[in-house]
Symmetry: C2
Subunit: 364 residues, 2 copies
């Protein structure tokens, strides 16, 4: 998949601007605050129907304007054209059009334009720690497994039901595990088993890809792993979870919250033997993050047979020369890539036979 | 204040290493993962008795070692020597020595060596948002106002007492505001008024310094402000808070938590008219952060008549050429500065008459 043309009107600091992109590497240069990230935000918005920087569409509206438009011309690997158009109006909201036809539900757009984004702002918003966590897992698996997404939504609804019931029992100081709770737990466990298994199957494949990307980036073999809590211990997860829900039931009533299940699983990223949150330097965390994002692109390609667009926001910050060099070598591998940076020096890291489209922004 | 010599043993990746620093600008160069940040961490540790990267001292211990040492030779503006020594032993903990004398309490070290640190990791750990929040305020005010620190601790203790009592009332479904609660609230309000007033007095002075630093960094006038919730509204805070505690009392009992008071105040940072968390780009957030840190250094100097040591961890990442240039001009102003970076190009930003001490690290 690639984007050929982007038009944005009244979007962030842009009045009305057009951008053309090549199918390969595109670099957006510009001083701080000139709107580099906003271009990535507009492209991401076209593919996902929301921003990675804000949860409110209104934040993307230019100051003192009433509406914004984002328009993109995309082509997939079969050279099919996809025209995507989002119109947002204050106090009304947004509408989406694909090839001129209005979408009934905005979420219909998801999956049509695969995008992988690496943005420091995105990482701040999507996870409390500096690295991707459970949400990342759920998002990537959902992308290629609709059943997983369905189970995830079911699980959340049943969990909400259970917590409501717990609250009710708490009020009545009722501590008996009764048939009502048992019926809910039956349904909860069914969804949980699917989620539990899918996550482990995904990780089994994914961690190998990440490790390979990692080693290519840093030029040496690293002890690297991604794992979920107590991953290998639980042979028969179904029975284990059932037992836990029963055992923890009095505590769950006391605090009116469900304290076991996949909604509490934590994803750890292990780097040279320790949790990366504890030992990784800023640069090493960035390298791990880049490796994960490159692996995500490869995973999506393996499943969808369509290469995602890579949006890399200031990916060179914190990387040393060697890693910048290695990354630039890897970036010429078939995906369309759109990078932002303040530093023109990065052009030197690309081989001379690679055509790099440079887009320059000026101070407004 | 400046550090002349640092020695670290079994600290992070360092077996036994010595570093000498000049009184002016020191730049630590090195590829990713070579231990640049660990040097800053050791210096910070000497001044504050803990790390900015981890809450567990054991994380700083080299792999398979039993103890680490950190030793620093400092001089204040009166050229008085201060030898600080920290010894950590696994399963025992740490001991501190100043000029050979053992400190009874580790916290005695705080205030002796003023340090201002800017580290991306620190910002991640100390605040959930990308910028400094209430904790920052409390830390800086405490540094120069011992009474504030005392009130803050008192306030926390009274708050804990109040929440315990609320929990008790919740259990008994007792919703009468009685003399017991009134007596606690009396004490709570006393502390709260001090904290409330001190925070506003501090901000009134501090925001002007930040704005000046900001404009010097970006070379133009910016709409910039830092403010606390409903700052200007409450003329007579004492009565307002008393009334709120009384009004919210039934709700407080229902959730067993105190829902009014300075422990819930939020610090907003306003940049060109909007909250910086919503609109600032990564670069603009970095500029704001640098301005706040430079202002912190000036504020400390104004109060203590001693210039703090500035530790700037990869401060150039995300900054464009212009901002790098402006920052380097500002960095030659009397403070000892220790910077880390992967990029040797930054040397070019310093004027030729400035002596820059370069410390180079290699891949281990």
């Amino acid at each position: 998949m690639h984007i050929k043309h982007l038009k944005i009107v009244n979007f962030r600091n842009y009045k009305s601007s057009d951008f053309d992109f090549s199918e390969g590497v595109n670099i957006i240069f510009g001083p701080n605050g000139t709107g580099k990230t906003s271009i990535l935000e507009a492209i991401y918005f076209l593919g996902i129907s929301k921003s990675f920087r804000t949860s409110s569409d209104r934040d993307m509206l230019s100051f003192s304007e009433e509406h914004f438009h984002v328009f993109g011309e995309f082509y997939n690997s079969k050279k099919q054209k996809l025209l995507v158009n989002f119109n947002y109006q204050k106090d009304v909201g947004k509408k989406a059009f694909v090839n001129g036809e209005k979408l009934e539900k905005l979420t219909e757009i998801i999956g049509k334009i695969p995008i992988v984004i690496l943005s420091p702002e995105y990482e701040n918003i999507s996870s409390s720690g500096p690295l991707l966590r459970r949400k990342f897992l759920d998002r990537v698996i959902s992308l290629t497994d609709r059943e997983y997404l369905k189970k995830l939504i079911d699980y959340r609804n049943i969990l909400r039901e259970r917590n409501e019931l717990l609250k009710d029992y708490q009020r009545k100081a009722f501590f008996d595990y009764d048939v009502l709770m048992e019926a809910i737990d039956e349904r909860l466990v069914d969804c949980a088993v699917y989620i539990y298994t899918a996550r482990r199957n995904f990780l089994r494949e994914f961690r190998g890809i990440v490790r390979k990307e990692m080693e290519e980036l840093s030029g040496r073999v690293r002890i690297y792993d991604m794992r979920l809590d107590r991953e290998s211990l639980e042979e028969d997860y179904k029975d284990v979870l059932k037992k836990k829900l029963l055992e923890n039931f009095p505590r769950d009533v006391a605090i009116a919250r469900t304290t076991s299940g996949p909604h509490l699983e934590r994803l750890s990223i292990i780097f040279d033997g320790k949790d990366i949150r504890d030992i990784g330097s800023q640069g090493e965390q960035k390298i791990a993050l880049v490796a994960i994002k490159l692996a995500e692109a490869e995973f999506i390609y393996n499943r969808l047979k369509e290469r995602p667009i890579l949006l890399f926001d200031d990916v060179f910050a914190y990387l040393d020369e060697n890693h910048r060099q290695n990354l630039c070598c890897k970036l010429v591998s078939g995906c369309q890539i759109i990078l932002t940076t303040t530093d023109k020096g990065v052009l030197a890291y690309f081989s001379k036979d690679v055509t790099v489209e440079a887009i320059e922004l000026d101070v407004a």
